[in-house]
Subunit: 274 residues, 2 copies
């Protein structure tokens, strides 16, 4: 999926919301446990209810791997269902992969060819030859960790000298890599002021932004500092939407929570043209 | 598995060789394609032939994920086979995982509880709370990427000022994390002189060392600069052993290749006591 198409979807749906399917068997409504594949049923119900409010779906692989090969089947069923039923949704495998070239090549084949995700999150630590096998796929996007939203981001991503912040080095260096136009970046919203620094370095890239809401980031500040002329941002929300309810009426609560966020996004998007 | 046990195994087998099962359906001997699960058959034959020459097995998850849920079944069958048949082998899930806390917790459960690996490789980029869920497992080991053997290592792991090398910062900082005694480190052999620097920072930790042989590192230099009083090093070899042959006699060639490396290791280990 091209980012121009993603921008069109954002404008058309008045939403830059990404739904995170961090689907945990211990947190889904109890009545779903009677289904043959409870997590797939949970995902399907959420997608059917929320697809008009979102432009993207992020599937966190850890929540599927924890169930072994059965969980991997659920992952495959979920991505197939999205691709067949809602092909306009931009799909993200939140997998944080990255390894030496011949191994990253296998990961790229797993997520891009076998499962047909539109994009995958990857970790920059091993440098260019660990990422370029993903970038080789010209119709796909590779979402590099820049600045993450967790406390541990302080350990390595910043420096005592802000000119030498590792996350800035990652943004700058990655722009030199082959097919770098296929890159997007993860930039956490918990410190929205950093988004200004990010936009100085990568003005044109799409950003995947976690950490709005539960983790404390403000949607308005995120938008103000992150938006570009392609819109250029996807804001992810996982737990606050998918676990908004826990009984037979959970979908209504999830819908209202997603609608609340999408309504704010609608206002922000419409204000661009004022 | 405790590292004291691993040291005993090294002494007993005169080997610190780790066998890397980067098992690629396009590279295994053709006659195995008649088997119901060719990669499992390939792995089983290699393990049965080589178990006396090795102390550890590293399974590269990418080569299994590329086959989807079927590949994940092969991964599960392989780790079960090792745990049931060769429980003294130290098992490594070479997965390069790492994410925010609740997600890393899922990965730890996947690899430590569900599949019962002894250890997993993880990426440091997201810092302490992305790694501590793995370190919580006291009978397991968490192998943090320090200095990798690929060219891309130059992008971020070094600095123009060697005091500020990121890989050194990773080694130093990680020693402050909760349960850091469960850490091991990946340190590539391609620049063996760096092993001296590594040993100044983490004198007591076990190191997983790729890059000997095919990637150009010298076993002798690696040993000289990396060995400690627990021996403290595992040297991995993957492709040069498992693809030594490509016909019905491939096991003999794989055995000879592994034996060649183990014989050198035997000499090095015996020279310690001279």
């Amino acid at each position: 999926m091209k980012t121009s198409f993603l921008k069109d979807q954002i404008i058309s749906k008045n939403s830059f919301l990404c739904l995170g399917l961090d689907s945990d068997i211990n947190k889904i409504p109890l009545f779903l446990l009677e289904e043959s594949d409870p997590i797939f049923s949970f995902n399907k119900l959420l997608l059917d209810a929320l697809n008009e409010l979102i432009v993207s779906v992020k599937i966190n692989t850890a929540f599927y791997e924890v169930h072994g090969s059965k969980g991997w089947e659920t992952l495959e069923k979920t991505i197939d269902y999205i691709n067949n039923t809602y092909p306009n949704l931009f799909t993200i495998a939140d997998a944080k992969r990255g390894d030496i070239g011949n191994t990253s090549d296998m990961y790229a084949r797993a997520f891009f060819s076998h499962m047909k995700f539109d994009s995958i999150t990857v970790s920059p630590y091993m440098g260019n030859d660990s990422i370029e096998p993903f970038l080789d796929y010209n119709d796909k996007h590779t979402i590099l960790l820049g600045l993450t939203s967790n406390n541990g981001a302080n350990d390595f991503q910043y420096s005592t000298n802000s000119d030498q912040d590792l996350f800035k080095k990652v943004l700058i260096k990655s722009q030199e890599w082959k097919n770098s136009n296929n890159l997007m970046y993860v930039v956490g919203a918990t410190k929205a002021s950093f988004l200004k620094d990010v936009r100085l370095i990568v003005p044109n890239s799409f950003l995947l932004i976690p950490g709005v809401g539960a983790q404390g980031g403000s949607l308005e500040d995120t938008f103000k500092n992150g938006v570009n002329d392609q819109i250029g941002i996807l804001v992810n929300s996982s737990r606050s939407i998918i676990y908004a309810g826990n009984d037979k009426n959970f979908l209504k609560k999830s819908y209202l929570e997603a609608k609340k966020i999408q309504s704010k996004m609608c206002v922000l998007l419409n204000n661009i043209n004022d």
